[in-house]
């Protein structure tokens, strides 16, 4: 009986270190899932990000950018607004800018304790997409492969559409 707590602890540790292959792959992050979280500013900021993604899906990238920037006006620490801007720039003509937005996203997610396995494929994939767009194919490949492995549904085609991120 005395060994029971120790066994429980060991079991816990073992569970924590289960190979990723055995655990079911988490559904990649959709920003709409986070729309109701946080304070009033974060919720509004998320709504503006979602509006931006909708505009992007409708082929209106300027409106999309306006939405993301407004989202930062309301909540300048919203990591998902930076993520959306990273996607916007990775798809556009500013891959370098996309990389700096991705770094900002990672730093904010980490500081806010919000870096979840669901967001990892997007961070990896967008980094790969931005590197590829910037002509750094060799560097891009491992990132895109990781993204594809983590979230084939979103990253199979090597890009993340606004709809998929939404």
């Amino acid at each position: 009986m005395r060994a029971l707590p120790l066994l429980a602890l060991l079991a816990l540790l073992a569970c924590a270190r289960l190979p990723a292959a055995l655990a079911p792959a988490p559904e990649p992050l959709h920003l709409a899932d986070l729309a109701g979280e946080g304070d009033a500013e974060r919720r509004t900021s998320m709504r503006l990000v979602l509006q931006g993604l909708d505009a992007d899906s409708e082929g209106r990238p300027d409106l999309a950018r306006g939405g993301y920037e407004n989202a930062l006006r309301v909540d300048p620490s919203n990591p998902y607004a930076y993520l959306a801007l990273a996607r916007y720039h990775a798809e556009g003509a500013s891959p370098e800018r996309a990389l700096s937005f991705l770094d900002r996203t990672s730093a904010l997610l980490e500081a806010q304790g919000a870096r979840s396995p669901r967001v990892e494929p997007h961070l990896e994939g967008l980094r790969g997409a931005a590197l590829l767009a910037g002509g750094r194919a060799a560097e891009a490949r491992p990132h895109l492969e990781r993204a594809r492995a983590l979230a084939p549904s979103a990253w199979n085609d090597g890009r993340l559409s606004a709809r998929e991120l939404r």
Binding site: E41, N70, D103, E110, A111
Partner: protein, 814 residues
């Protein structure tokens, strides 16, 4: 003789006249010469007149084919975003709507279904109705829509679109006018195209100014004759006979003097204009050119700008009565201004309506309705002129192609980053603060306004580098020298965070110190080529061994100077550069104590890098430049670059939080301002400059106080600058500071014993939490190693004991 021309007859008479030399062979020759002379003169006169006409034609075509109007570029504020949860009182919603010219209506009993037109609002205790006008913007347009805001105390509870009932998550209010870049005549106009002008406005203008506009060719002879007769009867000039085209010619090309020559030129030009251009073209030009009043010192031209001035709406939304009023004031916009004498304005408006009705331009029903319409003027607004220093900063940030000539003529819309509410608060806080200092410390008063106490306040959003407020001095009118961007003053102790950032950074073989280190604040002498340098503390005492936090919170000079020597002055200067300082940094030991002269804006940027977790933003004063066709012609994107690791930035921020909690910035807390705030005071030699650079997670604010001609204030920064900073932030945030300074993943918090800096274990005499970059944590523990102080940490990670490694492993796993 019959049938001869008059000149021939006269020649004949002259030839018949006796005279000593008129007779004989010379007579016909002289006549021939005279004839030739006359012909020549006639030809010359014709040639000159023709030449003059050609010249006038060139003038007319040059103006009509080129840029007809000089339209100043307008600078607009950042938009206000309304959303559920927002404190509408804090953002001053009611005043904001009023400044935007929204007309407040009496709330009807059926409040939610009352009819509102764009530009109208109505309030009850628990709800607001606003019919937004909407605005065009390339990347964030907002449609005109009627919205209902339900209020819960000072908060917006929810927002609905009236009609559809759709809940709205966020709504943008149109931006406010920050200012304009005027030409020498300070004319403002909002150009309108003729199809956008309501028919009744055109009819009202024609009814009063030029009934036969459609049929004349530039000059209306019937009207001229009528006016001449009336003036003859009156014995003075009472009526003008000018057509719209003549008025346009006069306004475009001529001076207002009343001379025959000028009238002839006006008539000639009117004929040329009519010959060359269509009636619609002429009418559109007239409607955009006509002077219609004043907004402060700015002349309002054109019906578009007049509609905004008097009724707070675009010309296309004017009612018949409003159009008649605009037409009624054309003859004397200031004498008959509805702001000055509303009753007289209504009388004149009704006269115009009578004319329109008589001329068949208004049907009976509309006529009656328009006559009964009460005069509802927009709140009188003047251009804020609160941000003139900012306008200068913005102008320097624009691409080179947009020089002064272009800015004053092409009618750009510049969407700036300025938060006009914050700007207003900044102006008030700085003015109030400086006046308060002068009143509490009379030696600071100067009779000469050019030499009076000055100050500057600049506020940035650290994440995006947007300038939210900037006040470069007490009065732009008195001095255009911008102390936020043009002044370079010694930073004093506000420079010290760069020393600590350089010392805490883990690059190149590990940090020089950790936050658990001890510093030596004993006497220091450095032998320099210029002689010995012996830094002193403000209290002229030495404090021996002190903790890093104590050294920062008490702003100890000697400990900091010694630390800078350990780190290396070059590294300190390099750190300041990486964070955003661009001014020259002399590589001397006193650099650590802020001998370098910097501008408040660059200091703001450097602190923004700390607030932003080591990511340096590019300063932005504007986002988009939009031309008169609505195309974006230039943009300034959000740009940033990581220049310091997030962990070190966090450690410095944590030190600066201590300054506000316990140190030289404590006046912030004493004033009752709560929440996450970090900052550093700075007082230069002889107390000539007082600085406070403070930040919250979403706002960096720099306040500088001093004299332009450096003189001692006799005050520390805590007394001179901190109160202004606190006043500003208190009002801007309403005391609710959002967010938190969060440690990044490579920073750990551990309990330490403060004297030794060792890890605290049960049994330690005292302990407190401290932050460390992962890998720089103390390895000694208290109480076992308590007697032995932690040496200055300057090596790589030391070998862990088995016990410490086990404890750390358990910490990580569990």
């Amino acid at each position: 003789m019959e049938g001869l021309p008059r000149n021939s007859r006269s020649r004949k008479r002259q030839a018949d006249r006796p005279g000593p030399k008129a007779r004989g062979d010379g007579g016909p020759k002289m006549w021939r010469a005279a004839r030739w002379l006359l012909a020549g003169l006639a030809f010359a006169a014709g040639f000159l007149a023709g030449g003059h006409l050609v010249r006038l034609d060139r003038i007319v075509t040059a103006r009509f084919e080129g840029r007809r109007f000089q339209v100043p570029s307008r600078v607009l504020s950042a938009p206000t975003i309304l959303y559920p949860g927002l404190d509408w009182q804090r953002v001053g919603l009611r005043e904001r709507l009023k400044r935007l010219g929204y007309r407040e209506e009496e709330p009807a009993r059926s409040f939610e279904s009352m009819q509102l037109s764009p530009g109208q609002q109505a309030w009850t205790e628990r709800a607001v109705r606003v019919h937004l006008r909407g605005f065009a913007h390339p990347s964030r347009p907002e449609p005109p829509r009627d919205i209902l805001l339900r209020l819960d105390g000072s908060r917006i509870e929810e927002i609905h679109e009236v009609g559809s009932g759709r809940a709205l998550g966020a709504v943008l209010l149109e931006p406010e006018l920050v200012g304009s870049y005027y030409g020498p005549h300070r004319e403002q106009r909002d150009l309108v195209r003729l199809p956008e002008v309501p028919r009744h406005l055109v009819d009202a203008v024609l009814a009063v100014e030029d009934q036969r506009f459609a049929s004349h060719h530039g000059i209306d002879l019937r009207r001229v004759a009528g006016a001449a007769l009336a003036n003859l009867r009156a014995g003075a000039i009472r009526q003008g006979g000018s057509t719209l085209t003549q008025q346009l010619a006069k306004n475009f090309f001529l001076t207002p003097e009343r001379t025959l020559e000028r009238k002839l030129e006006e008539a000639a030009m009117a004929l040329i204009i009519e010959a060359r251009y269509g009636k619609d073209d002429i009418l559109e030009s007239y409607l955009n050119e006509i002077y219609l009043g004043q907004r402060g010192s700015t002349a309002v031209h054109g019906v578009g700008e007049a509609a905004a001035l008097y009724f707070g709406k675009p010309a296309r939304h004017l009612t018949s009565a409003e159009s008649a009023l605009i037409a009624a004031i054309i003859q004397s916009p200031n004498g008959t201004s509805p702001f000055r004498d509303p009753e007289r304005a209504v009388e004149r408006r009704n006269l115009v309506l009578d004319l329109m009705h008589e001329q068949g331009r208004l049907d009976a029903a509309t006529y009656r309705q328009a006559r009964d319409e009460p005069l509802r003027l927009s709140p009188r607004s003047e251009e804020a002129r609160l941000a003139r220093y900012f306008l200068d900063v913005l102008r320097h940030q624009l691409p080179r192609a947009y020089d002064v000539t272009t800015l004053t003529s092409v009618g750009l819309r510049i969407y700036s980053t300025l938060d006009l509410r914050m700007q207003r608060i900044a102006v008030e806080a700085l003015t109030r603060g400086l006046e308060g200092l002068e009143s509490h410390y009379p030696p600071l008063r100067r009779d000469d306004s050019a030499r009076q106490l000055q100050g500057c306040l600049v506020a940035l959003r650290p994440q995006t580098g947007e300038i939210l407020a900037l006040v470069g001095g007490r009065s732009y009118g008195a001095s255009q020298f911008d102390r936020c961007t043009q002044a370079r003053r010694p930073a004093g102790s506000a420079f010290k965070p760069f020393v600590y950032a350089a010392a805490l950074e883990a690059s190149g073989g590990g940090p020089t110190i950790t936050l658990a280190s001890q510093l030596d604040d004993g006497p220091l002498r450095l032998d320099l080529p210029t002689g010995p340098w012996r830094p002193e503390n403000f209290d002229r005492k030495f404090h021996g061994i002190v903790s890093v936090r104590e050294a920062v919170e008490r702003s100890l000079n000697v400990a900091t100077a010694r630390l800078a020597q350990d780190v290396g002055i070059e590294k300190v200067a390099g750190m300041a550069r990486r964070l955003g300082i661009e001014s020259p940094l002399p590589p001397v030991p006193s650099l650590a104590l802020g001998v370098a002269e910097v501008s408040p804006l660059e200091l703001a940027r450097a602190y923004a890098t700390l607030a932003n977790g080591g990511v340096r933003p590019e300063i932005r004063a504007f986002e988009d430049l939009v031309d008169s066709q609505g195309n974006t012609v230039a943009r300034r994107d959000i740009e940033f670059r990581r220049t310091l690791d997030g962990g070190t930035a966090y450690l410095v921020t944590s030190l600066l939080e201590g300054v506000v909690e316990r140190g030289t910035g404590f006046a912030v807390r004493r004033a009752g301002l709560e929440g996450p705030i970090a900052g550093k005071t700075g007082t230069s030699d002889d107390e000539r400059d007082a600085w406070f650079v403070g930040f919250t997670p979403e706002l960096v604010v720099v306040v500088w106080v001093g004299f332009d001609d450096p003189q001692s204030l006799g005050l520390t920064a805590g007394r001179a600058a901190v109160p202004i900073w606190t006043d500003f932030v208190q009002q801007v945030t309403g005391g609710r500071i959002r967010g938190a300074f969060l440690p990044p993943g490579d920073v750990v918090a551990l309990e330490i014993e403060p004297v030794s800096g060792a890890l605290a274990r049960p049994g330690c005499p005292s302990q407190r939490a401290e932050y460390f970059l992962v890998g720089t944590e103390p390895t000694r523990t208290c109480p076992s190693d308590w007697a032995e102080p932690e040496p200055t940490w300057r090596r790589g990670r030391e070998t862990e004991s088995l016990r410490d490694a086990l404890l750390r492993w358990l910490d990580e796993v569990l």
